[in-house]
C-alpha cells in the first residue's frame, strides 16, 4: 500500500462514529494534501445551493467523501439564492460547471407558512402556496437544465416533529403531514420531468435519527444550521449514498460467513441439530439476519457463502434445516473449505466476472475481517457486532447496495447467476468452444426504441463498467428522450439459451449523422461476455444501418480503469483505428460496404424476432 493510501485508510479508520467537530477539522486538514493518483482518489466538484447555512455539512461531506474514494471540492451558492442561481445562465452554480449539483432547500425556508402559520391558513390558501412553490421550483430546475446536464441531487422535505394540529392532524383536511407528503410526491414528479434529478431522502433520515433530535435549537437559532452536529455526518452520508448510486458504484455481491453469522454456534462442534436457528433467542436473531439477506437477494444482490467448514455439512444445513430462510437456490457460490477467505472471494469474483470492489463481506470474526481488509481492501468488510440481536440491523444499515431503481432483471439476478454456474459446467463438458456455442442454443431478440425497456436500458448504463465503450451513464428520462429522437436508435438485446432467459443483457445507442452511423453507447453485461453475442449484436446493428443507406459505422472507445475488457473488441470485430485523441479516446471506423465477415451473425446464434 502506498503511503498516501495508508494515510487515507488510517485517518478514516480513526474517526469516531459520528466524528466530532475536532476530528472532522483534523481529518480534513490531514487529507487535503493527499495526491489523488497516489491515494487512488477521484476529484469531484459539487455545486451547492441551499436555503440554510450549509458550511458545516460541506466539511462533513468532504471528509466522508474520502471513504467513497472521492476528493470533493465545492462551490457554495450565496446564502438563500437558490432560485436565481438555478435560473440565471450566468450564475455561479452554472458557471462552476461542477460534476454534480446538490440542492438543499428546506420547505421551512421556502414556504415558511406551511410550518409556522399552518393553522391560520384555509385549505385554498395552503393549496395555492403548494402549487406556487412546486411551479416555481420546477421552472427553476427546467431553466437550469437548459444550460446544464449535470446530475442534480435534490433534498426532499421533512414532515414536522410536532404537527400544528396535534393529534387531530391525521383527521383534518388539510393535514400538515399530508400537505408536506404531497409536496414530496410533486418533487418526485418534478425530478422525472426535469431528468437526471435524484431525491436525497432527508425526510427518511429525519425519521431514522428522530425528528426531535435532527435539529439542535442552539445551532439553528445561532447560525441557521438546521442539522444537529451529531447528525451532519449522517446528512452527508445520505447525499453520498445517492451520489454513489448515480455514479453506478453500488455493490453487487454479499459474501456471508456461516458459524455465528447465519446461525449460532459452530456447526462442526454442535452439528446440524445443535446450531441456534429458530423462533426464540438467539435463533430468531439469526433468522432475522437471513430474512434481510433474502430481501437483498430479491432486489438483485448476489449471495455467496464464505465459510471455513466441511462443504457437505454446510450444504446439509441449507438443504435440510427446517428453520433456514436461505436455501441453496439463493446462493450462487458455496465457497466452503479450509482455505483463506480472501482467496475464495478472489476465485468467486473471477467466476462471476465481477470486480472485487463490488463485494461486501459479512463475518462475526474480527480476525477473518482483519485478514480480508488487509488482503482485499477493495472488498467492503463488515464485522458484525457482538450481540446477535444487532445483526439484522447491521445488514439493513448498509446502503452500498443502493440502486436508483429495481428492474425485473434485478429480481431474477440470483437465479441467472445460478444458471451461469450450470453453463460453466456444460462448457467444461463440451469438446471445443464452437460445439459449446452450438449446444447452448442461443436466441437473441433485439428491440429498438421500445419504451417498455427504458428502466433496464438506463440501468445497464449505470451498472455496466467492464464491457462498456464510453461508460456514459443515462437516466430513464434521458433514455426516453433518446428513444424518441428522430436520428437515434436505442437497441436492447435479450438473450435466451437452453438454460433459460438471461433477460436484457446489452444496449446500443446509435445516432445517424448523414451516411455515418455513430455508436454513442455499446455495452454488454459481463455475465454473457465471450459467447459471441456482442459480435452478433454489432453485426445486426451494422446490417440495419447498411440497409438504411449508411456507409460507415463509427465508435469511440473511452478507456477507464474498469473497462479493459472492451479494449480489444472493435479490432477483433473488424474495425479500423482512425484516430487517437489527446484525451486518450480512440475513434474506430468500419466501412459498411466492405462486404467483410463482420456483419455476419455467427451461425450458432438465432435471431428470434426483431423490431425497429
Amino acid at each position: 500500500m502506498s503511503t498516501a493510501k495508508l494515510t487515507l485508510a488510517t485517518t478514516l479508520h480513526e474517526l469516531s462514529e459520528p466524528p466530532t467537530t475536532i476530528e472532522i477539522a483534523r481529518a480534513s486538514k490531514q487529507l487535503a494534501g493527499l495526491d489523488c493518483n497516489e491515494a487512488g482518489l477521484k476529484p469531484l466538484t459539487i455545486g451547492i445551493a441551499s436555503s440554510f447555512t450549509f458550511d458545516p455539512i460541506i466539511k462533513n461531506l468532504i471528509v466522508r467523501g474520502y471513504s467513497d474514494g472521492l476528493k470533493l471540492e465545492s462551490y457554495l451558492a450565496p446564502y438563500g439564492q437558490y432560485i436565481p442561481e438555478l435560473m440565471s445562465p450566468q450564475s455561479g452554480l452554472v458557471v462552476a460547471k461542477s460534476d454534480v449539483v446538490v440542492l438543499a432547500i428546506r420547505l421551512q425556508d421556502a414556504c415558511p407558512a406551511l410550518y409556522e402559520r399552518f393553522n391560520s391558513q384555509d385549505a385554498a390558501s395552503i393549496e395555492s402556496i403548494c402549487n406556487e412553490w412546486t411551479n416555481t421550483f420546477r421552472q427553476a430546475l427546467k431553466a437550469f437544465r437548459k444550460h446544464s446536464d449535470t446530475p442534480i441531487l435534490c433534498c426532499n422535505y421533512e414532515v414536522p416533529a410536532y404537527p400544528a394540529l396535534g393529534l387531530a392532524d391525521a383527521k383534518c383536511t388539510p393535514s400538515q403531514n399530508e400537505t408536506i407528503a404531497s409536496l414530496n410526491r410533486s418533487l418526485q414528479e418534478t425530478a422525472l420531468q426535469v431528468g437526471n434529478v435524484h431525491i436525497v431522502d432527508i425526510d427518511a433520515l429525519a425519521s431514522r435519527v428522530g425528528r426531535t433530535r435532527m435539529v439542535d435549537p442552539k445551532l439553528w437559532f445561532w447560525g441557521r444550521i438546521p442539522i444537529a452536529s451529531e447528525h451532519q455526518w449522517a446528512y452527508a452520508g445520505e447525499v453520498l449514498r445517492v451520489l454513489r448510486a448515480v455514479s453506478g458504484k453500488s455493490r453487487k455481491v454479499l459474501a456471508l460467513d456461516c458459524d455465528n453469522t447465519l446461525w449460532g454456534g459452530v456447526l462442526g462442534d454442535v452439528g446440524k441439530d445443535g446450531i441456534a436457528l429458530g423462533h426464540d433467542y438467539p435463533g430468531n436473531a439469526f433468522v432475522a439476519l437471513q430474512k434481510r439477506a433474502l430481501d437483498l437477494y430479491h432486489r438483485g444482490v448476489v449471495l455467496v457463502v464464505a465459510s471455513k467448514n466441511e462443504h457437505a455439512a454446510v450444504k446439509d444445513v441449507f438443504e435440510n434445516h427446517p428453520e433456514m430462510v436461505l436455501r441453496p437456490e439463493h446462493i450462487s457460490h458455496f465457497a466452503v473449505n479450509w482455505e483463506p477467505k480472501p482467496q475464495n472471494l478472489q476465485r468467486v469474483a473471477d467466476t462471476l466476472n465481477l470486480n472485487l470492489d463490488s463485494f461486501v463481506f459479512l463475518d462475526d470474526h474480527p480476525v477473518e475481517c482483519a485478514m480480508m481488509r488487509e488482503m482485499l481492501p477493495q472488498v467492503l468488510t463488515v464485522n458484525l457486532p457482538e450481540d446477535p440481536s444487532r445483526f439484522a440491523e447491521t445488514l439493513a444499515r448498509l446502503d452500498c447496495f443502493d440502486q436508483l431503481g429495481i428492474s425485473d432483471e434485478d429480481r431474477r439476478r440470483g437465479e441467472m447467476y445460478r444458471k451461469e454456474a450450470a453453463r460453466a459446467e456444460f462448457k467444461a463438458e463440451s469438446d471445443d468452444l464452437e460445439s459449446f456455442f452450438v449446444g447452448l442454443d442461443m436466441r437473441i431478440n433485439i428491440a429498438c426504441n421500445d419504451e417498455t425497456n427504458v428502466a433496464r436500458a438506463a440501468q445497464l448504463t449505470q451498472r455496466t463498467n467492464q464491457f462498456n465503450m464510453t461508460t456514459r451513464r443515462r437516466t430513464e428520462s434521458e433514455m426516453i428522450d433518446l428513444m424518441r429522437a428522430e436520428d437515434t436508435e436505442v437497441c436492447t438485446i435479450r438473450l435466451t439459451d437452453r438454460f433459460g432467459d438471461n433477460g436484457i443483457v446489452g444496449l446500443a445507442i446509435v445516432r445517424r449523422e448523414g451516411n455515418n452511423a455513430v455508436l454513442d453507447t455499446f455495452l454488454m453485461s459481463c455475465r454473457v461476455l465471450g459467447r459471441s453475442v456482442e459480435n452478433a449484436f454489432l453485426a445486426w446493428i451494422g446490417t440495419q444501418m447498411l440497409q438504411r443507406g449508411g456507409t460507415t459505422l463509427e465508435g469511440r472507445f473511452i478507456e477507464t480503469l474498469k473497462n479493459k475488457p472492451f479494449a480489444g473488441f472493435f479490432e477483433s470485430w473488424g474495425m479500423t483505428l482512425a484516430e487517437k485523441s489527446d484525451d486518450g479516446s480512440q475513434r474506430w471506423v468500419y466501412d459498411l460496404n466492405s462486404a467483410a465477415d463482420a456483419l455476419t451473425i455467427p451461425k450458432w446464434i438465432q435471431i428470434e424476432t426483431q423490431s425497429s
Binding site: 466530532t20 467537530t21 475536532i22 477539522a25 458550511d55 442552539k218 445551532l219 445561532w222
Partner: protein, 82 residues
C-alpha cells in the same frame, strides 16, 4: 489536570481557527484572530461541549468574548482549567 485541560482547550481553538497554538492566550478573541467569525465561534463552542462533556446554554455562547471567557466558563462547570 488543569494544565492539561488548558492545553486541550488551546488545541481546540487553534485547530478550528487554523492558527498556531503558541499564538493563543487568554486575550485571543475575534478581534485578534482572523478566522474567529460567528460560524467558528459556534464550532468552538460545539467542540468544547464534545471534548469536555459539558453543555452550553445559547446565552453562555453569546457572552463568551475571548479564550479567557472559555476558561472561566469551564471552571464554572467544574472542569478545572488553568
Amino acid at each position: 489536570m488543569s494544565q492539561e485541560n488548558r492545553a486541550k482547550l488551546i488545541e481546540i481553538v487553534a485547530t478550528l481557527l487554523e492558527t498556531d497554538a503558541s499564538s493563543i492566550d487568554n486575550n485571543s478573541s475575534p478581534e485578534t484572530i482572523e478566522h474567529w467569525d460567528s460560524m467558528n465561534h459556534l464550532n468552538i463552542c460545539v467542540a468544547v461541549e464534545q471534548e469536555f462533556g459539558i453543555q452550553l446554554q445559547t446565552d453562555e455562547m453569546a457572552t463568551i468574548q475571548n479564550v479567557g471567557d472559555l476558561v472561566t466558563m469551564l471552571n464554572r462547570k467544574n472542569v478545572a482549567c488553568a
